[in-house]
């Protein structure tokens, strides 16, 4: 009986961890299974920054985009993912930069290419403002 409880607990924990891991990467393409070389990855960077960059919303502004509406990604209750995979194109991404109870929603317009990885990084700007940069991984 004890062994059964142990196995069940471990299985539940593994399931919970896997679920969380799946939630943390937002994939901006529904019902498609795409390999890494066909998508652009946005990943968080906290290098020399006091903020963690979450993702609040994304809007595809590519000329050939069929849907140009802003899509909210996560929220205050559910939390914000820090990773996102995108199809190649031009996007306006609004980030949720947070540290402790301080947060800001800076936006960046990015052009992403398939097979590339990009880092998002929030930073302090003058007059108490917060900015964000998105740069391609070397």
């Amino acid at each position: 009986m004890k062994l059964l409880v142990k196995v069940l607990t471990t299985a539940l924990m593994a399931l919970a961890v896997t679920s969380c891991a799946n939630l943390s990467t937002y994939k901006n393409y529904k019902n498609k299974k795409l390999s890494d070389d066909l998508v652009a990855k946005i990943r968080p960077s906290t290098k020399n920054s006091v903020f963690t960059p979450g993702i609040a919303s994304v809007r595809n502004t590519s000329r050939d985009a069929s849907d140009k509406k802003t899509k909210s990604v996560g929220g205050a209750m559910a939390g914000y993912p820090v990773k996102m995979n995108l199809l190649p194109g031009r996007y306006v991404i609004t980030f949720y930069c947070f540290t402790g109870n301080t947060y800001a929603f800076p936006s960046a317009e990015v052009v992403v290419e398939e097979g590339s990885t990009y880092y998002s990084r929030c930073f302090n700007a003058p007059e108490g403002k917060v900015g964000v940069e998105v740069y391609e991984a070397e």
Partner: protein
């Protein structure tokens, strides 16, 4: 009963050891005594006045941090409230600090301008939830000069508010400016260890919001 009494005494001793300050400002009379094991003497000069730094005395808050393998610093070793503040006098601070180990280093976690006339302080930099720090890298006993520091703040081409320090490690004139106040200091044995800017990568967690229904 005896075990209980011994445990209480041990607890008090541990508390006292924990409360012992790891950094303290020094007077000339302190320099006649031998340096305690595990400690060194530090000297920091701040640039008196230039375009970037107002002509004020400075206060430094020194605290112990863990050093990570990637070279950044994180997680205060002791509660943030148990750090120590040292002040410059005539733009120079002399203090005793704990030697660095492989994983624990005393760092300047924040610095402020002290406005005597207004009775207040204005922040130069602070790393309460991560940010820049100035590690006091010294692993053997002695007197360390961390140089004459100038604080700089500027805006980068992407609009980021950046903070940096520049350090003049020349000891020329140091003895002349200190000998009156600190005649007991042995100036020939001063080791020069120019200060470098480090980064505290710890981040504060959001506090919990309690909703009463």
């Amino acid at each position: 009963m005896k075990i209980l009494l011994n445990s209480v005494l041990l607890l008090i001793l541990l508390l006292l050891a924990g409360c012992k300050t790891t950094v303290s400002q020094l007077q000339d009379s302190d320099l006649n005594k031998p340096i305690e094991k595990g400690y060194a003497i530090g000297i920091i000069k701040v640039r008196e006045s230039d375009a970037d730094s107002s002509n004020t005395e400075k206060s430094f808050y020194i605290h112990e941090r863990h050093k990570r393998r990637d070279g950044t610093y994180t997680d205060p070793v002791v509660p943030l409230s148990s750090g120590s503040t040292i002040m410059t006098k005539d733009h120079i601070a002399i203090f005793k600090f704990k030697l660095a180990t492989r994983s624990i280093v005393s760092v300047i976690a924040s610095a402020s301008h002290v406005h005597d006339s207004q009775g207040g302080e204005s922040n130069i930099f602070a790393s309460a939830c991560g940010g820049p720090v100035i590690p006091l890298q010294a692993s053997s006993q002695g007197v360390y000069y961390f140089g004459e520091i100038t604080f700089k703040e500027w805006v980068s081409e992407i609009g980021e508010l950046k903070f940096d320090i520049s350090v003049n490690d020349s000891t020329q004139g140091l003895e002349a400016s200190l000998s009156d106040a600190y005649p007991s200091l042995s100036y020939s044995s001063i080791k020069v260890a120019p200060a470098e800017l480090g980064w505290d990568s710890s981040q504060c967690q959001p506090s919990t919001t309690i909703i009463y229904i």
